[in-house]
Structure formats: C-alpha cells, structure tokens
C-alpha cells in the first residue's frame, strides 16, 4: 500500500494514545478472558450446577469426545455453516450491490429488505414455528398442500428449513455491509471502465467484486464464525430436534449444561467452540491472500 501508506505514515506514528484501548481491554478481560479461564477450569471438573465442584481430570473430555452426539453436533454445525454461507453470501452480495444504487425505488426496497434486522431471534423463531406448523400453519391455513410439509418434524428437511430461517434473518445484515462496501468504490473506476467499453457484467466482475475483497472477507468471517453462535433461533425453533437433527454445537453445549446439568462436559464443549471459532477466524484472515496488502485503488 505504497502511496496511501506513506501519506498516512506521519499521522499513524503520532497516533492516538494506547490508553484509549484501556476501557475495551478491561471489558474484554472481565467478560471474555476471565470467564474463558473459568470454562477451561470447569472442563476438568464434574459439577451438576448445585453441589460441590470436583476435580476429575480428563473425564469430561473423554465423555464429550467419545459421545456420538458430539460428533453429530459437529457435523450438523459444519453443514449449517456451509449451507448458510452458500445461501447467504451470494444473495447478500447481489442485494448489497443492488441496494447501493442511488435510485429511489432501490432505497424503498432496501428499507423492506432490512426489516428482519429489527426482529429478535426469538420473535423470528416463534413466527416461523407458527407459520410452518403442519396442522395450524400457512399450508393448512391456505389449503396449499405443498406448504403443508412437516417442515420442522422431518429430519431430512429440518436442516434446510433452519438454514432458510437463518438466511432470512441475517441476509439483511450482510446486505448492509455490502451496500456500504459498494458505496465506497470510487465512481471514477466505473467511469473509466465505461469509456473502455466494459458492460455491466464486466464492471461487476472486474471492479465491484475485487474492490469488495475485504468486505467479502469480513462478511464471510461473520457468517462462518457466527454459525458457531446460532443458538437462540434454533433453540426456540426446533429445540435441536427432531432427534438430534438440528442440535448444533452451541445448542448441544447449552442442553448438556442446563438440561442435563453436566457443567463439566458443557465446559469442554465450550472450549471446543472457542478453539474452532478462533481457528476459523484466523484461517479466513489468511485467505486474504499473499498480497492482501496490495493496493485496490491502483490508478484511482
């Protein structure tokens, strides 16, 4: 980042005092690091949430790691992560590019698209649960047999229903990110491309998409790591069922901790979640590529 980097260099060196980070650091220590240490400690104990906490060594870990339900939860989590990404990324990218346009009707549509952002996960889950009810929901209500599936009770269907509801809730958020990203692209690039005779598709492919590289990485990180935190929505929508079909890792952790009251195993699952989340976040940052510091604004 030659030109921009050197221009800003002086400012950065004199940059704001490190103390500005102190409040955030304090909250981070108090609400992330300290509980994290607690969770790691608890994972080596056995505790039912009421009595005394007994040190048990690795027994919680062996229980968790040999439990087929944990393996299943990992697979389900990976599936939800994959399908959520596949569905959400293109839809929100396209919607973001679309809503970034200046036309009035696009602004009006954007407001509609962002509506789900206003709803809490629990409200979304309760609404969809009612709509998808096989006996009293949308299908039987309007006598549409195609909608009268057992959406949340069929082990093969339910995962896709969950992915759909997650997408419904989160696509607006990622659309917003992309919209902001697109609006930051200098119009001069498009003007130059137009003079060179590039069509809309080429402009999208050769300007918009490369310019959005970091937006894509940010949005993807949030999508992928965020799927490790899908809890409230699924807890209310399916409770992890039917069977174990939608028992994602975070939900499995919660149910182990607060339904089965096995805090040791739940903590082990929590540590697993953190390690996987960290690993994925770092991996996605790496995916930025070797020359991720290269300028995107060459010639702008």
């Amino acid at each position: 980042m030659t030109s921009l980097g050197s221009a800003n260099r002086g400012v950065r060196d004199a940059g704001p005092s490190g103390w500005l980070a102190a409040p955030a650091l304090f909250f981070f220590l108090a609400f992330a690091v300290v509980p994290l240490i607690g969770v790691v400690f608890l994972s080596f104990t056995s505790w039912n949430g009421l009595g005394e906490i007994k040190l048990e060594g690795l027994s919680s870990w062996t229980t968790v790691l040999t439990d087929p339900v944990t393996g299943n939860a990992l697979v389900v989590t990976a599936k939800v992560m994959f399908f959520s990404f596949i569905v959400q990324a293109p839809v929100s990218l396209l919607l973001g590019v679309f809503t970034a346009g200046g036309q009035k009707y696009r602004a009006a549509l954007a407001v509609l698209y962002f509506l789900p952002l206003l709803l809490s996960s629990a409200a979304v889950a309760i609404a969809f649960k009612a709509l998808l009810d096989p006996n009293f929901g949308l299908g039987p209500g309007f006598h549409l047999p195609i909608l009268a599936q057992d959406w949340l009770g069929n082990s093969d269907l339910v995962l896709f229903v969950v992915v759909f509801v997650i997408a419904w809730q989160f696509v607006p958020f990622h659309t917003l990110i992309y919209q902001g990203g697109v609006r930051q692209i200098p119009t001069s690039l498009y003007e130059a491309a137009e003079i060179d005779g590039a069509g809309r598709f080429r402009q999208f492919w050769n300007i918009t998409l490369p310019q959005l590289k970091y937006t894509v990485i940010t949005s993807s990180t949030l999508m992928v790591v965020g799927s490790l935190a899908y809890f409230d929505l699924i807890f209310v929508l399916t409770g992890g069922g039917p069977g174990y079909s939608t028992r994602l890792l975070p939900l499995h952790m919660y149910l182990t901790g607060f339904k089965a009251n096995d805090m040791g195993a739940a903590s082990a699952l929590g540590v697993m979640l953190i390690v996987i989340g960290l690993g994925l976040a770092l991996l996605l940052q790496r995916l930025g590529g070797k020359n991720r510091n290269a300028s995107q604004l060459e010639g702008a």
């Binding site: 980097g5 039912n48 009421l50 009810d133 006996n135 959406w151 069977g243 089965a260 989340g277 770092l282």
Partner: protein, 444 residues
C-alpha cells in the same frame, strides 16, 4: 508494504479472532447470570410459580395471603414450565433462588437435598399435624427423601389420562380402547375416516414419555421402573422395556400418531387443540390439560364431547390396570439459603395460606383435584364432577402411582432418556440401542 501496516493488519486479525471468541464466550457465560437479588436485599419471601391452569388460583391464594398478612408478604412471579426448570436450578445453584422452590419431587428434589439447598421440613410437619393430615398420604410421600420431608404438595393430583373426542368416536362408530389390541385395531378405522388416531406433542419430547411409562407399567408392573430409579445396573434391560418400545414403534408404523407429530408442541397446547378440533381422535396427556381445555374449548367440554378413560391393558401384562403414572402433585420446598424471616413467612403460608377453603374451591372450579382429603362432597357439587371424581378415584384407588420418569430420575438421565425416546418415535434407533444407551446412564 511497511512495518506499521503489517502490525496494524496483524492486530486487526487478532482483534477479529478475539471478538469471535467473545461471541462464543458470551454464550458460555449466559447461564451463569441468575436473577439478581431476588431475595438478597428485600426481606419478603419470594415465590416462583408456573404459568398455565393453576396460575390464577395461585395468584389469588397469594394475594389473599398478602392482604391478610402484610408483615409476611410473598412476592410471586410466574414462568413457563420448560424455562422455569432451567432457570430455577441455575438460580438455586448460584444461591439466588426463591424462598419457595416449586418442584415435582423425585430426582431433582434429591439433587437439591444432596446439595443442602432445601430445608428439612420433618420437624415442621411433626409440630403441625394439621398440615400432614390434610394431604392424601400417597401424595405426601413424594416429598420425602430418605424418610425426611423436604417438600409439601401444593396443588392438584395429575395422573396421565387417555382423553378422546366423543364426536369423532360416534362418527366412526368406535368405542374407547380397553386393551392394546383394541387400540391397534382402532388405528386403521380412524385413518380411513381421515382422522388421526392420536395427537402427540412430540416436539416437547415429554409427552412421548407418557406412552413408555404406561406401557412399561402395564407390561412389567411398577418394579421395572423402581429398579431403574434405584440405579440398579442393567435395569433398562428388563424385557418389559423392550416390549414397550417395540409396541411404540409398531404404533408409529401403523400411523397411529398425527402427521408431523414431531413438530407439534405441547407447551403451546397445540396437541390438545388437535384433539378437540377433531383432527385427532385421542390424546394421552396429563390431568392438567383438562384445565386448559375448559378455558380454550369451553363449549367442547361443557357439551360433554370430551371423553376420558384409563390407559388400556396389555394382555399378559403384570401391572395392575388400576396403577397410574403422572405427577402426584407439585410441591413447595423452602430454600435453605432464605433468611429466617423469609422462612418463617413461608412456613406460615404453608400452614395457614394453602388449601384454605377458598383455595381448595378455586382449585376445584378451575377443573383440578386438590391433593387433600375430605373433598368428595365438594367434587360432587362441581360442574366438572364427572371428570374430577374420575381423577380423584384414579389417584385414590391406585395401588401404585409412579412419578413421571423425567422427574423421578436425575436430570442427566432424564435428558438422555427424552432425547433417545424421541429417536425411538422417529425410528432413528432400535429398542436395543435405546436400552444400551440408557443402561450406560445408570448411576449418573
């Protein structure tokens, strides 16, 4: 590329990763924050009750008490059943539980007793014979752990009952099933008429359990579950368990349960609605849903279209057909962490505020049978007398009243049992797999 740039990018990636971890952590920590100071600062006793049929009755009882005893007032909050069970345990574990702990007896009560979280009420019961004498003895027994009383019944007897829609039965020309064979024979009859034979709130999981409880009881008698509850190694291998699970899967195969039963929730009363709207002919559910139907489907209940009977017998079964499963009652335990003033107020309420004439009448008129003696004449005078005397007789004449298994077992066992039984209903696992998995939970 320069050094500063690198540093900042690195910092940024670390910050991102760290914030991602924060998301995971906030989840991990979300259970540890109980309700703040529900009994710490104020010295009035606190009480957590359940929403549902008994909510107005309890509210009135406490309101009356507070009016008469402003110095010993009780602060009452209500929670939904499933949410309550999680919340109260976390709160009690954090020493922030309510003075009155609402419970079911069984394994959960035992875990509170083991952790020293609830008061031993034995001497209170001894000093106040009036309290002890008002209860049906078989119900009172469920509040005891190792011969000591830790919980006192607080509402109504709740056996599991087989409800049916008389209108649907008349249309098809069927009789309520007395044996399992009759039950199975009814399945194709109702299906032909386009009605689901049974409604089932499969998403809530615990309604599934009622089927297993009654089948095991009818086939093997009460000892089968008594052994399981006593943590005897291999207790789930009793042939009665396998036969019951097989029968359940046969009923699933025959299409006995309504389409999409595993997405029907009992917590929203959708399961009973399916029966009273005629989409399903029968439902196996707790005695408490009568209260709900009396409110939600008043005409249906009033016009006598609601039928009810006991669970059918199984030929060759060892269990007494008069035996019952369900919840003998709900209970109050008193928190050991409460202040002396709170404990005193709580015990005074238990002695003088509960099961007063007005409270008992309110329970009866809500469609419930209080767990007290000498109410026959009151039940007779009630507009719901048919159902109430049926339930009262069922509870009183039962040689054995088995507590709902998910309450009788420890929470870890109960959770595993409900998840695996769900798999049985979905036909994802075989009875043998269920038995192996459950045997592994013995002693946990």
């Amino acid at each position: 590329m320069n050094g500063n740039e690198m540093k900042i990018r690195k910092l940024r990636s670390v910050a991102l990763a760290v914030s991602a971890a924060g998301v995971a952590l906030s989840l991990a920590a979300c259970g540890s924050s109980g309700p703040a100071g529900s009994n710490a600062s104020s010295d009035s006793a606190s009480m957590w009750g359940l929403t549902g049929g008994n909510q107005p009755v309890l509210q009135k009882s406490v309101d009356d008490w507070n009016q008469a005893n402003p110095d010993k007032s009780i602060k009452l909050d209500f929670f939904a059943n499933d949410a309550y069970k999680t919340k109260v345990r976390t709160a009690v574990g954090a020493g922030e539980g309510p003075t009155f702990i609402y419970g079911w007896g069984g394994g959960v009560l035992k875990s509170y007793v083991d952790a020293g979280q609830v008061e031993d009420l034995s001497s209170f019961v001894k000093d106040n014979p009036g309290v002890k004498d008002r209860y049906l003895p078989s119900v009172l027994k469920n509040g005891e752990v190792d011969g000591k009383t830790y919980a006192l019944p607080n509402n109504n007897v709740q056996p599991v009952v087989l409800y049916f829609n008389k209108e649907v039965f008349d249309k098809v020309g069927a009789q309520p099933p007395k044996t399992w064979e009759e039950l199975m024979a009814l399945v194709p009859k109702f299906k032909e008429a386009g009605v689901a034979p049974f409604s089932l709130g499969g998403q809530s999981k615990w309604p599934d359990l009622m089927w297993l409880e009654y089948l095991v009881e009818r086939i093997g008698g009460p000892d089968v579950f008594a052994n399981i509850a006593a943590d005897k190694p291999g207790a789930w291998s009793d042939p009665a368990v396998k036969e019951s699970l097989t029968k359940i899967q046969e009923l699933v195969d025959a299409g006995g349960f309504i389409n999409g039963f595993s997405s029907v929730a009992a917590d929203s009363n959708a399961d009973q609605a399916l029966m009273y709207t005629g989409k399903a002919a029968m439902i196996l559910q707790g005695g408490w849903i009568y209260q709900g139907m009396k409110k939600d489907a008043a005409d249906f209940v009033k016009s006598g279209k609601l039928g009810y009977t006991t669970f059918p017998t199984v030929s060759g079964g060892k269990g007494d057909p008069a035996n019952v499963v369900g919840n003998p009652s709900n209970f109050w335990s008193i928190s050991a962490k409460a202040t002396d003033a709170q404990k005193k107020a709580a015990l005074d309420y238990v002695k003088d505020g509960m099961f007063t004439g007005a409270n008992t009448d309110a329970l009866i008129s809500s469609g419930a049978v209080p767990v007290v003696t000498g109410i026959e004449s009151k039940l007779e005078a009630s507009p719901d007398k048919d159902f109430l005397t049926f339930v009262y007789g069922m509870a009183k004449n039962a040689p054995n009243f088995t507590l709902s298994w998910d309450q009788a077992l420890s929470p870890a066992q109960g959770d595993a049992m409900l998840s695996n039984l769900d798999q049985i209903f979905l036909k994802k696992i075989s009875p043998d797999q269920f038995i192996t998995t459950m045997n592994a939970t013995i002693g946990k």
